[in-house]
């Protein structure tokens, strides 16, 4: 077991940076609400990415200066954004033509649960009196070429989010390609989950304890 006094795992910023490193130059990218939004802060030197926001902008730029926001220039999370030179506005049907039509290269989403087969649950806990709200998540996972998930490895109650089978209602089946957590980067392969990288001071055994599905190693991890 790992000593609990030393820092374990990556910060949210480090997680976002790991995702950013895996996005090829020239990609069209849609970032989900929450941690995924941080990914835009870590584009590696020399790469140019184009961000799409499903509410009608291709070429989303940085957050505007405090007080300079435009109420009608917002992202999917309804936060103020800007548009880069070379951006384009369009209506919702055209926006989902991009998404459903397979034109977006990568979408980075948050998760409530991800299964060993890459099933994603991220829109509803299925609780009785929760207001169901799906937004664009189902369209994104059905239409975007590659789905990356960025999430804490476990819930705030310590329950694993990576599980054999999702117990929450699905957003999509077999859609996730890679999971970036605070503890590890895990690829979803046909023959199971493979740990590609572990965060500092995380052992494979520790990771297994925190995970609700079988994990495989590409090569024998250093214990």
């Amino acid at each position: 077991m790992v000593n609990n006094d030393i820092k374990i795992g990556w910060s949210r910023a480090e997680m976002a940076q790991k995702v950013a490193l895996d996005i090829p130059d020239g990609s069209y990218v849609n970032l989900g609400i929450g941690i995924p939004e941080l990914v835009a802060d870590f584009v590696p030197e020399g790469r140019e990415l184009i961000y799409q926001t499903e509410n009608g902008l291709l070429g989303m730029g940085p957050v505007p200066e405090e007080g300079k926001g435009d109420r009608e220039l917002v992202n999917a999370g309804k936060k103020y954004i800007t548009a880069i030179p070379g951006a384009a506005y369009f209506h919702h049907a055209d926006s989902f033509t991009m998404i459903r039509g397979g034109h977006i290269d990568i979408c980075v989403l948050g998760a409530m649960q991800v299964s060993k087969d890459g099933d994603l649950a991220n829109w509803s806990t299925g609780a009785k009196n929760a207001i169901p709200a799906v937004g664009g998540a189902m369209d994104l996972v059905a239409g975007v070429k590659r789905i990356f998930v960025i999430t804490q490895h476990v819930t705030k109650y310590g329950d694993p989010k990576i599980v054999d089978e999702c117990t929450f209602p699905l957003t999509g089946k077999q859609v996730v390609e890679c999971i970036y957590t605070n503890l590890a980067i895990i690829d979803v392969k046909k023959d199971g989950l493979f740990v590609r990288e572990m965060a500092p001071n995380v052992s494979f055994e520790y990771l297994m304890v925190k995970t609700g599905a079988k994990l495989n190693q590409y090569i024998k991890a250093k214990v």
Binding site: L73, H91, H92, A93, F96, A133, D139, K173
Partner: protein, 237 residues
């Protein structure tokens, strides 16, 4: 002479009848036609079905329309927002119906309604609870669900510029559902920040051609919804 401009908010919504289906533009407050919605509250039509991406914030605009118990059913993708209390309360009390539709499917169903497409197939929602009970078919080895076009009696839409023909330009991400809602409704009622002379909108840049619009009204300084919510105002005030 064709002139779709009208001059009073009450006249704009006068024809809306009880039980009507109304599409309301906006993604959150961006593009939400708040003056038209408030006028619909004054007007009082009841048992409405509202097609809109969200359900409003605070106690103004769309939330106020719902709070005023004019809405029997909402068709939307995301009926939760940071400051939305009205819809959740009524929903949990079983006093408002909800048809939850993935955002892209909602957009495409509206677009289909406007384009005379009664139904189409999409892969969104396959293998999820939202596909339950829906007809599905395999194309090229992949499963798709059948979704139906949506039409409305009215649309309430916010634009940046309009002319007497009803040609529209929008501002930034306030465009969102406006253009497709105009196509899918019998009477599209538009509040524009400025009405300009015919010919002052470059035909290459028109976003909504006038054929899709029936009424336009100039609202030069639309209210700032976020501000009203922050100030905890309620409509009617």
């Amino acid at each position: 002479m064709i002139n779709k401009q009208i001059n009073s908010l009450s006249e704009a919504v006068a024809d809306i009848f009880d039980g009507a289906t109304i599409m309301i533009g906006g993604f959150g407050e961006a593009g939400s036609p708040i003056e038209l919605i408030h006028s619909l509250i004054d007007h009082g039509a009841k048992s409405l079905t509202i097609v809109s991406n969200n359900t409003g914030s605070g106690h103004v605009g769309l939330a106020a329309l719902i709070e005023n118990r004019q809405v029997a059913k909402t068709i939307c993708s995301f009926p939760r927002t940071a400051n939305s209390k009205v819809f959740p309360e009524l929903y949990n009390a079983g006093k408002i119906e909800l048809e939850l539709v993935p955002q892209g499917t909602l957009a495409e169903r509206i677009r289909a309604g406007g384009a005379g497409i009664p139904a189409f197939y999409t892969s969104a929602s396959v293998n999820t609870p939202l596909a339950e009970g829906k007809e599905s078919q395999i194309f090229n080895g992949q499963e798709y669900v059948l979704e139906y076009g949506i039409k409305a009696d009215f649309a309430l839409v916010k634009a940046e510029k309009a002319d007497r023909y009803g040609n529209l330009l929008y501002h930034a991400t306030a465009r969102n559902f406006g253009p497709i809602m105009c196509t899918a409704s019998k009477i599209a009622i538009v509040q524009a920040k400025k009405i300009v002379g015919a010919g002052q909108i470059d035909p290459e840049t028109v976003v909504t051609p006038g054929i899709f619009v029936q009424k336009v009204i100039e609202i030069r300084n639309p209210a700032d919804e976020s501000k009203l919510v922050e100030e905890e105002l309620s409509y009617p005030w």
